[in-house]
């Protein structure tokens, strides 16, 4: 960076969940942050760089929120290991920046008292001090600092208030030559230690805080509706409905635009390049292939926008509260609701979000069923087939038949997820522990535009990177398979009949024929393993529609002429269950630390897919839809 390179400081941000740690992290580091994973585990590792007034470069690490260093989940284990310097790949932090929600000091101060035993330089940041003051909390900072034995500053992370002051204090404290390094004497706290620490925290609060926080009246009023046994459920369902409506309706114009853009690009490349292999490769293989996937970016972003907003608002914990018993009936933990909801966007963040579930058994069940939730990559496949085969006729006056089929496919996914977890609970886990459901319902907070946008940007980049690498290479592969070897001179059949794709497809076909799949489908399923949505483009390529196979309608018309209705239905049924996404399987492997759960998930989903497609196909044939 700059020439004057004073020694770097590693500072860790630590605090209870919902204390505004991440908002403070964003305020301190701005856009200079990096999201990666800790080596060996997929716990997200957010780090960022900042510079203090004295020119020190600070490496700031945002740690997962925790109530104690005990480590009850993979997330909390990481927090403990980083603070105690147990990670082989990293040196322990030079400095701990403890963050406490000023409106909720009791639990936070107990954690601070526990953290003191680590004997690292520490600074306590009272975050959201403005909200606390507005609610009549009067905190004597000097007294709090004296009683606690830890320097204290205040901040309003979301308004960047007090940030300069905070940076100044970091300089002051971290800059002090450390007289001696005292080794950590932290031990796993027993119940008696926790009691003692909480009493001490309560004593400090009595000494330094004159007026305790009154309950947030807004939260109370909103919860009177949102946690109401009846209205709360109505609101939750309404919210889910609006969310999916938005994913389909709001994304439409943007998707149209992207699709047209790629069409124009394809046409431009066709005009610029001479006819032949290169033109076919650029236009059909690269542009339309990648375009057919990027077109779903708006839908994915809208879904993530909802999930991020609900998380920031503090609603997700409420949803878990409302759904706990209902999900418990299927053997799922209330906390599984959040990962499963995220899985509607994509199973990968959903599976990663299972880290909030502290119990291994509940976590594994959730991971296993998350890919059954209808992810956004299935949307293009469903949309294509439904548009091509299901007439758009009204049902009961207001509902469209196409929309109803779509809804049915979503419902089938949800129902199967519940059924699978129910069965898994009955047969796999009979003797293992069912953990308690305990979670904090934080006060509602207005989401911060800045942090939401930053998060969305990170999601968009991750998706585009995937489109640019995995999906791109798969498209090149399918184009290659469909184009080589070239047909002999004077051949009258379509060129693809002579290709490798046809050979592979015909080789698999006997296995898939009983479920109504022809060789073209068989071969399209292979690149679909890399990413489900690629199947659309692959079918287009395989059916050799020249020029713009990203225009789903064209592929649809083609399919309507080539497939029977029974095959189309079987194809949909297959897609509800098929373990067709290598990245999901890779994430399962990383999250569960081995192949066992990957294989279990792969084979149970594959069997369900085959069975469902088989039954659908046979029933449809019997109904005369062949």
């Amino acid at each position: 960076m700059t020439a004057i390179e004073v020694n770097d400081w590693r500072i860790a941000l630590v605090g209870t969940p919902n204390c505004g740690k991440t908002a403070l992290f964003n305020a301190l580091t701005g856009s200079r942050q990096k999201v990666a994973n800790y080596a060996g585990v997929t716990v997200e590792r957010k780090s960022g760089v900042l510079r203090t007034a004295s020119g020190h470069r600070v490496d700031l690490i945002d740690l997962p929120g925790t109530y104690s260093l005990r480590g009850r989940s993979p997330d909390e284990d990481i927090t403990r290991d980083v603070i105690l310097g147990k990670l082989a790949s990293e040196s322990p932090p030079d400095f701990l920046l403890c963050v406490a929600d000023a409106t909720n000091l009791r639990v936070a101060l107990r954690l601070v008292i526990e953290l003191k035993r680590v004997h690292r330089p520490m600074l306590l940041v009272l975050n959201m001090i403005d909200i606390a003051r507005r609610r009549g909390v009067d905190i004597d900072l000097d007294k709090l600092s004296a009683e606690l034995g830890v320097p204290v500053v205040t901040s309003t992370a979301v308004r960047r208030g007090g940030i300069d002051d905070l940076l100044g204090r970091i300089d002051e404290i971290a800059g002090k030559p450390t007289a001696e390094i005292i080794a950590s004497d932290w031990t796993v706290p027993a119940a008696s230690d926790l009691r003692a620490a909480q009493r001490e925290a309560d004593r400090v609060i009595r000494a330094a805080v004159s007026e305790p926080a009154k309950p947030d009246t807004w939260t109370t009023r909103v919860d009177a509706v949102l946690l109401h046994p009846v209205w709360g459920m109505v609101a939750l369902l309404l919210l889910l409905f609006v969310m999916f409506q938005a994913v389909f309706a709001w994304a439409e114009p943007a998707m149209e635009l992207i699709s047209q853009g790629f069409d124009a690009l394809g046409a431009f490349s066709a005009a610029m390049l001479p006819d032949g292999l290169l033109q076919s490769f650029i236009q059909n293989g690269v542009i339309s292939g990648v375009g057919s996937v990027i077109v779903f970016l708006p839908q994915i972003l809208i879904l993530f926008l909802f999930i991020l907003l609900l998380e920031d608002l503090g609603y997700m914990a409420r949803a878990a509260f409302l759904m706990d018993r209902i999900m418990g009936g299927a053997g799922l933990h209330g906390r599984a609701f959040i990962p499963l909801l995220s899985s509607f966007a994509c199973a990968i963040p959903g599976i990663m979000a299972t880290r909030v579930i502290d119990n291994k058994r509940d976590r594994l069940t959730t991971i296993m069923v998350a890919p059954l939730m209808t992810c956004s990559a299935r949307i293009p496949v469903y949309t294509l087939i439904i548009a091509a085969f299901v007439p758009n006729q009204p049902v009961l006056g207001v509902l469209g038949l196409q929309g109803l089929v779509m809804f049915g496919l979503y419902a089938l996914g949800i129902f199967s997820a519940l059924a699978v977890s129910f069965v898994a609970n009955r047969f796999f886990w009979r003797d293992s522990a069912t953990p308690p459901f305990m979670l904090e319902l934080p006060d509602y907070k207005l989401p911060q535009l800045r942090s939401v946008l930053m998060n969305l940007y990170q999601r968009a980049m991750a998706f585009l990177k995937r489109a640019g690498t995995t999906i791109f290479s798969m498209m090149v592969l399918i184009w290659f398979l469909a184009s080589f070897p070239r047909p002999p001179e004077g051949a009258t059949e379509p060129a693809i009949d002579f290709s490798l794709a046809a050979m592979i497809g015909r080789w698999i076909e006997p296995v898939l024929a009983p479920i109504g799949f022809n060789w073209q489908i068989s071969v399209a399923l292979i690149p679909g393993m890399a990413a489900r949505e690629v199947a659309v483009a692959s079918l287009g390529t395989v059916y050799a529609i020249e020029g713009g196979n990203e225009a789903a309608e064209q592929v649809g018309q083609m399919l309507a002429g080539q497939w029977s209705f029974a095959t189309a239905l079987a194809f949909l049924a297959w897609y509800v269950f098929a373990p067709q996404c290598a990245s999901t399987l890779a994430v399962i492997k990383r999250e569960t630390g081995g192949w066992r759960w990957v294989l279990i998930t792969f084979f149970y989903m594959l069997s369900m897919a085959y069975l469902a497609a088989f039954v659908t196909y046979r029933v449809a044939l019997a109904l005369g839809w062949g």
Partner: protein, 105 residues
């Protein structure tokens, strides 16, 4: 929806929070985990409750009940709201509700 039976608790009488209804106000008198809960040790349950600030002397109030079987419950513990199942709330012995309501902190 408050149950008159639990509302008219006499001073010093204790009852498990897991049996109380919405609107109940009281003060924690003891954390007594009856035994291991479906494989989770009693000690672990106790520590988790303590980590949420549920210690002897804390004031508690049941704010909400879940839509199915009035479970789980949302409990205000001093300044924080915690959602937990009635099964675990059985370990939280509460009493002295009148005094708690007056000095609720």
């Amino acid at each position: 929806m408050s149950d008159p039976g639990t509302r008219t608790l006499e001073a010093n009488q204790t009852t498990p929070l897991g049996l109380a209804r919405r609107g109940f106000c009281g003060r924690v008198s003891a954390i007594m985990v009856g035994g291991d809960h479906l494989g989770v040790s009693a000690n672990e349950i106790e520590r988790r409750l303590l980590e949420f600030g549920i210690v002897e002397g804390a004031s508690v109030q049941i704010l909400h009940e879940g839509p199915v079987g009035r479970d789980p419950i949302a409990v205000r513990v001093n300044g924080t709201t915690i959602a937990l199942r009635r099964r675990e709330a059985m370990a939280i012995m509460v009493g002295d509700h009148d005094q708690a309501a007056k000095t609720a902190t």
